[in-house]
């Protein structure tokens, strides 16, 4: 039983890491109804910027602030050069634009900071922590705490301010949103900046785990099943989806692995998401769309 709990908790904590990545997607999806393919690239770019600044001798807090500033600037640039010219176009056009943006940001990151792998030490010990009979990773617990703070902050921003209702309005019908006086450019810059900052947090935590390297931008693919299960448009959904994926893939690996062969972790989340697509395509926390025909 203790072993089961340990696997479960380990899985849930790993799930938090997935959820952190998924959060960035949710933000932009809510503001434009678009899966932002460039989120992985933004995450990589943020982590790489931070690491490179630290390696050039900046103290950690200053590097963090500078990187946050860079992500805000990036948001402004994206709004000016990509979103504004494409206003009122179909979501598919915007999606293609984010695809191009992903390559552009990755290229820019490489040109600026080079292509080598950087080690990243956040100063958090990744030692096992004994809680009763269970062994938990301190680093994972730290990540969970960070995720909790982010979620609380985002919920305050979305549920308590006019931003929440404006975001839903913009995603629903940008033209109508403009006509009622919602300032699209401002909303977009804000959302992309927040998504960039969430990307920075996720990038730092993942970077500390895997090293800051270009394959980091591929964790986009890990976020996909999380979003399908939780919903593309809900912060809560991203967290619950992440936890579900984390727990189920670890449990499957440990309990099903011996029966049908190892390496289960790598494909299990996608199979799980596929089942979800068949049963509840909008995800656990998505609102089914209504259409009067």
């Amino acid at each position: 039983m203790a072993f089961f709990l340990e696997v479960l908790l380990g899985g849930l904590l790993a799930g938090v890491m997935y959820a952190l990545v998924a959060l960035g997607f949710v933000l932009i999806y809510r503001a434009s109804g678009v899966f932002n393919f460039a989120q992985g690239a933004m995450l990589l770019f943020a982590a790489l910027t931070y690491v490179s600044l630290v390696e050039r001798g900046l103290p950690g807090w200053l590097a963090l602030l500078s990187t946050l500033g860079v992500m805000v600037l990036l948001a402004v640039a994206v709004e000016r050069t990509v979103l504004r010219p494409l206003v009122n176009r179909s979501p598919l056009v915007l999606f293609m634009a984010t695809l191009g943006l992903a390559y552009f940001i990755e290229g820019a990151a490489q040109a600026l900071w080079g292509a080598q792998v950087h080690g990243l030490d956040l100063g958090i010990e990744d030692s096992p922590l004994e809680v009763g009979e269970l062994l938990l990773s301190t680093f994972d617990l730290f990540a969970a705490a960070v995720a909790a703070v982010l979620v609380i902050g985002l919920s305050l921003l979305f549920d308590r301010t006019r931003l929440g209702i404006s975001l839903r309005a913009v995603a629903d019908d940008p033209l109508a949103a403009q006509a009622v006086g919602i300032r699209l450019p401002r909303i977009w810059v804000l959302v992309w900046a927040v998504a960039g900052c969430v990307g920075l947090v996720a990038g730092l935590l993942w970077g500390a785990r895997l090293g800051v390297q270009f394959s980091l931008s591929l964790i986009v693919l890990k976020a996909l099943p999380v979003l399908i299960i939780g919903s593309f448009s809900s912060v809560t959904g991203a967290i619950v989806g992440g936890l579900l994926i984390g727990a189920s893939e670890k449990l499957a690996e440990v309990y099903l692995g011996p029966l049908i062969g190892g390496g289960l972790e790598n494909w299990f989340p996608y199979a799980f998401a596929l089942v979800f697509l068949l049963i509840r395509p909008v995800g656990l926390f998505g609102e089914p769309t209504v259409e009067r025909v």
Binding site: A169, I182, V290
Partner: protein
């Protein structure tokens, strides 16, 4: 009534306006004035350029020539967001509602221009935020009551029948407490009874709230009853501008609507 309105200051001034899409002229040399407190009807055959004119007035389209001034300023109307903040609210011919949101939330989006509290105040529920939130809701609820939409307050807009959706759009525009209300065919697809009802609402908004209205309407009967002032467009030209009775007997208008006698 027409006499007293003439003394009022001009709210909306359109002068020498021209709009073209590529080589196709939507309208040209259009100029007229709308005084404060007026109901001005914009009429004309299909394709005359009426909707395009509304789109220029609230900043969706940029004219090639001419100017639109609201209360003497032309800057306010360059973009739809700016126009909304300057007090221009509108409804669309084909509806521009947030279909996945409730009726109340749709109406609340109309209140954006009246928000003053910062995001930080709102997020933490401090300072001006709570009182403002209450005030916004009160006005949104008032707009729902005004247009008798209370029974559908929490329904998703996408599930409502067309006539009700039109009313929700009007409620959203009303909640903005606009100076100028632009209505693009508010009565399209309605039967005579519904038209009477909506005419009543529009007159109430105009009289009780002092809102200036510019509306596009095809039903001449309704226009003659409702409007203080009629502007007629035909093939992108302004062919008449004046009181309803005068416009009705104008030979150019009769020709545009019925064809000339040969």
């Amino acid at each position: 009534m027409g006499v007293s309105l003439v003394r009022r200051p001009v709210l909306l001034e359109v002068s020498d306006l021209a709009l073209a899409f590529g080589g196709v002229t939507a309208f040209a040399e259009v100029g007229f004035q709308v005084r404060e407190g007026e109901i001005c009807a914009l009429i004309g055959p299909n394709g005359a350029g009426k909707s395009s004119l509304l789109n220029v007035i609230n900043g969706l389209y940029r004219p090639q020539r001419g100017a639109v001034r609201l209360g003497g300023s032309s800057r306010a109307l360059r973009r739809p967001q700016a126009a909304a903040h300057a007090g221009v609210a509108r409804t669309f011919q084909n509806l521009a509602l947030f279909k996945g949101m409730s009726v109340l939330d749709n109406v609340l989006t109309g209140r954006g221009r009246h928000r003053r509290a910062s995001w930080l105040e709102q997020a933490l529920g401090l300072g001006r935020a709570p009182a403002e939130e209450r005030a916004q809701r009160e006005i949104a609820e008032w707009a729902l009551d005004f247009l008798h939409l209370r029974p559908w307050r929490d329904a998703l807009v996408g599930t409502l029948p067309y006539g009700l959706q039109k009313r929700v759009e009007l409620a959203r525009a009303l909640a903005a407490e606009p100076r100028l209300l632009l209505l693009d065919e508010p009565m399209a697809g309605m039967n005579a009874g519904e038209k009477q009802e909506l005419s009543g609402y529009i007159r109430d908004i105009n009289r009780e709230r002092g809102v200036t209205v510019v509306l596009i309407e095809h039903d001449i009967q309704v226009v003659m009853q409702l409007a203080d002032h009629v502007v007629v467009l035909d093939y992108g030209r302004l062919i008449a501008d004046g009181a309803p009775a005068a416009v009705r007997n104008d030979p150019a208008v009769i020709a545009a609507y019925l064809g000339t006698r040969h």
